[in-house]
């Protein structure tokens, strides 16, 4: 069992013992366990995927870690997110598998005892070597240096016993930072700051070597725990969320463009498709009994989005703004408004500014929606909105409201909202609160819900549900 092949000493040992017995014993069992572990982390691994994996492993040698991993990934992980989880699980799974085998057979790492006490000068050179390795990003050198660093610092101070703390302690002692350190001499690689991902990789290696040492000391494995939400999320965080929102909104565009009420009233203008009619007439001996029509090209939808940015929806407003941002990226005929007590059109800001951060800053500074109290006044918002867009609203338009429908005790003016809904083709409400809280306290969503379709929406998954729901009634009507 040697997908750990690139760890020189341990890998060679484990590999040779397995090779002696011909095919590695229990490999199919290991693969099944890996599949099981992936399922526990939420990757959809079916029986057919596992069969594929076995088929693939007949073609690829299991002695090369790279090929082995890639071959398994190609069959077991079928999306980018799955692939990321696969990497984490694969790493953990085989690390543990090798450690178990090693603990059973009593193999330990060659100790670095000959290192002895390091002088200050030697330590400095170690620091520089590590910094240089990080700058060049050479994986092998980093691994060896991580072991040296642990050995060196284990002697200088007691380990805390908590691996995370020790990792940070060693990193700090080595003076490794991503920010530039201008007081160091310019030829020092740390002078301009170190690449962030190399730093992260080095920390991972430190963590791993410390874990290995701990396992050796205690002779047992720590309990495995499921990947935290943090580990499995894509590295870039908010930007990745933004990407997910963009993806869903692109779907939304397709649904709005190809389906929906824009089709209404177009039947009159149907054009006969001569070619298909002739083709159909062949079945009736050349007599065109059945007329075939050209497909109707739906018109481009027009969208009006109203977005609540008051304090009661602070947690959701970043999400809402990213939805708005993505909508603007996708639709050209679109007008967007933000509101608290009054309404303010922000179409221009979105059209001229690409960067999401700048957009949200400009909205919070220039939009001028807060007025005096800073509390949402839905009644006023509807009246102002109606005045602004009354002439432009038509049955092909879609109005989407993003808000919690909390009026702070003010008049909801559902009658004005009804007017808006009746002029527009379709009206949707996305509410960032769980459905449980609707109509409690000052929430008046029920008053509006009779004129529009309301959705609970505070994650991308729910946004996706909304997009899916958009098509459902249309399909039902078509049958």
């Amino acid at each position: 069992m040697s997908p750990e092949g690139s760890v020189p000493r341990r890998g060679a040992l484990a590999g040779s013992s397995a090779a002696a017995g011909g095919a590695p014993e229990g490999l199919p069992a290991r693969i099944l366990e890996l599949g099981e572990e992936l399922r526990r982390e939420g990757v959809a691994v079916g029986t057919s995927e596992l069969l594929d994996a076995f088929e693939v492993l007949r073609e690829v040698s299991w002695t090369s870690q790279r090929d082995f991993r890639e071959a398994l990934a190609a069959t077991l992980a079928k999306s980018q997110e799955d692939r990321r989880i696969f990497e984490l699980v694969f790493e953990r799974f085989f690390f543990r598998a090798v450690e178990v085998a090693a603990a059973r057979e009593g193999i330990t790492e060659e100790s670095l005892a000959e290192l002895g006490e390091l002088t200050e000068a030697e330590l400095d050179s170690l620091r520089e070597q590590i910094a240089a390795a990080l700058r060049d990003g050479s994986e092998g050198a980093m691994r060896d240096l991580a072991r040296m660093a642990i050995a060196a610092f284990a002697r200088r101070q007691e380990g805390s016993g908590v691996i995370g703390v020790d990792v940070q302690r060693i990193r700090r002692a080595l003076g490794l930072r991503a920010e530039p350190q201008p007081d160091l001499p310019p030829e020092d690689p740390r002078h301009d700051g170190l690449p962030r991902d190399a730093l992260r990789r080095f920390e991972a290696l430190l963590r791993r070597e410390l874990e290995r040492a701990q396992i050796e000391r205690t002779g047992s494995l720590p309990a495995s725990r499921p990947l935290g939400e943090l580990d499995r999320a894509l590295p870039s965080g908010p930007l990745a969320d933004l990407a997910a929102v963009h993806r869903v909104v692109t779907q939304l565009r397709r649904r709005l463009a190809t389906q929906g009420l824009q089709m209404r009233g177009h039947r009159r203008h149907a054009h006969v498709d001569v070619r298909r009619t002739m083709r159909a007439s062949l079945q009736t001996g050349g007599v065109p009994v059945e007329l075939k029509f050209r497909p109707k090209r739906p018109k481009r939808p027009e969208i009006y989005v109203l977005c609540d940015v008051s304090t009661s929806v602070t947690s959701a407003s970043v999400f809402f703004l990213s939805v708005l941002h993505a909508l603007h990226d996708t639709f050209r005929k679109m007008r967007s408004f933000v509101f608290i007590e009054r309404i303010s059109e922000v179409t221009d800001i979105f059209e001229h500014e690409r960067n999401f951060k700048t957009v949200s800053e400009r909205i919070s500074t220039d939009a001028g929606v807060a007025d005096i109290s800073g509390y949402t006044d839905y009644g006023r918002v509807w009246s102002e909105f109606l005045v602004q867009v009354e002439d432009d609203l038509h049955p092909r338009a879609t109005v989407i409201v993003l808000g919690d429908a909390r009026t702070n005790g003010r008049d909801p003016r559902a009658d004005v909202f009804a007017q808006i809904a009746s002029r527009a083709g379709r009206t949707f409400w996305l509410n960032p609160e769980p459905r449980l809280y609707w109509n409690y306290g000052d929430s008046v969503i029920a008053a509006y819900e009779q004129y529009c379709t309301a959705f609970e929406c505070w994650t991308t998954a729910q946004l996706e549900d909304f997009v899916r729901a958009l098509t459902r009634p249309v399909i039902a009507a078509g049958r």
Partner: protein
């Protein structure tokens, strides 16, 4: 494209070498998955951002193996008549008109639904081909789920049923590549039948190699600088980040202009080769252009 079909490769290294020989520098997993595709005859689903060489991979495989490339470009509203087959109704009409009076209906009917009157569309072409082909189904995420479902049938059995004619089964096993820009989540059923390959923007060294391959006259230092700058541009949040093809275009443009150093001025002048949105251009000019410095600074 050569006339002779190359025998199936026997190792991953051989595939990597072969793809290199036709001007495509594969990453580690690309070569491996291509090899598995030829070995197992499973379709490969290739995903990744636009312009990382997904389509190019199919072309490279086809010219490396000396197989014909059959391409089906997907779009919204693509239907079976455009993807599978269609009856050539004009020819059928002519056939009926040219018919001498007195021929029985049965005879005519048999006649006009023969292979002669069939217009083969890409999927049909790929399946009925005498020689093994490479079938590229490009941008599968643009189609509807209905089309995907139809494709499942074709991809699992490699056969098409034509009511009037019978069943057409594949004579050879095509290599199938499906590409997707991930604009829509594909169905589990389709994914289950495919090997998965995620292509991302290449690492710096890898991209440098690619640029050097396509613009061999560009000096090493300029090429390296160019790839670094492209990397910086990709890190920004742009509407359309520059693809590999655009790096190559830029390299060629710099070569034509005889540039020896990428500074702010050259960058601003030639930026339009890699950045294609007005708003993006502003962002890039501001964030990257100024960082490059003037020739005086560099010296």
């Amino acid at each position: 494209m050569s006339d002779t079909t190359r025998p199936e490769p026997t190792s991953v290294a051989e595939v990597a070498e072969g793809l290199r020989s036709v001007g495509y520098l594969p990453g580690e997993s690309t070569a491996l998955v291509s090899y598995l595709a030829t070995k197992l005859g499973k379709p490969v689903l290739v995903e990744g951002p636009a312009g990382v060489g997904k389509t190019e991979l199919a072309k490279a495989i086809s010219s490396y193996l000396g197989r014909e490339l059959v391409r089906l470009q997907c779009y919204e509203g693509l239907d079976e008549a455009k993807a599978l087959y269609e009856w050539n109704y004009r020819k059928q009409l002519l056939r009926i008109q040219a018919e001498a009076a007195g021929t029985g209906w049965e005879a005519v009917q048999d006649d006009i639904f023969g292979e002669e009157f069939l217009l083969a569309r890409p999927l049909m072409t790929a399946i009925s081909s005498e020689q093994p082909v490479v079938l590229l189904i490009d941008e599968i995420d643009k189609t509807d789920q209905e089309f995907e479902a139809m494709l499942l049938e074709v991809l699992s059995d490699f056969q098409i049923s034509i009511p009037e004619l019978g069943r057409v089964s594949s004579r050879t096993h095509p290599i199938v590549l499906l590409t997707s820009n991930n604009s829509r989540e594909l169905t589990e059923a389709l994914k289950r039948r495919c090997l998965y390959l995620w292509l991302d923007y290449p690492e710096l060294e890898h991209e440098l190699e690619i640029v050097r391959l396509h613009a061999p006259d560009l000096s090493e230092t300029v090429a390296r600088r160019l790839v670094e700058v492209i990397g910086m541009v990709r890190d920004l949040d742009l509407k359309k980040p520059p693809s590999i093809a655009e790096s190559i275009d830029w390299a060629r443009a710099l070569l034509l202009l005889g540039v020896t150093e990428i500074d702010t001025d050259t960058f601003t002048e030639t930026m339009s080769v890699i950045v294609k949105h007005r708003t993006d251009m502003d962002v890039v000019a501001e964030r990257v252009g100024l960082k490059l410095g003037t020739p005086a600074d560099v010296a």
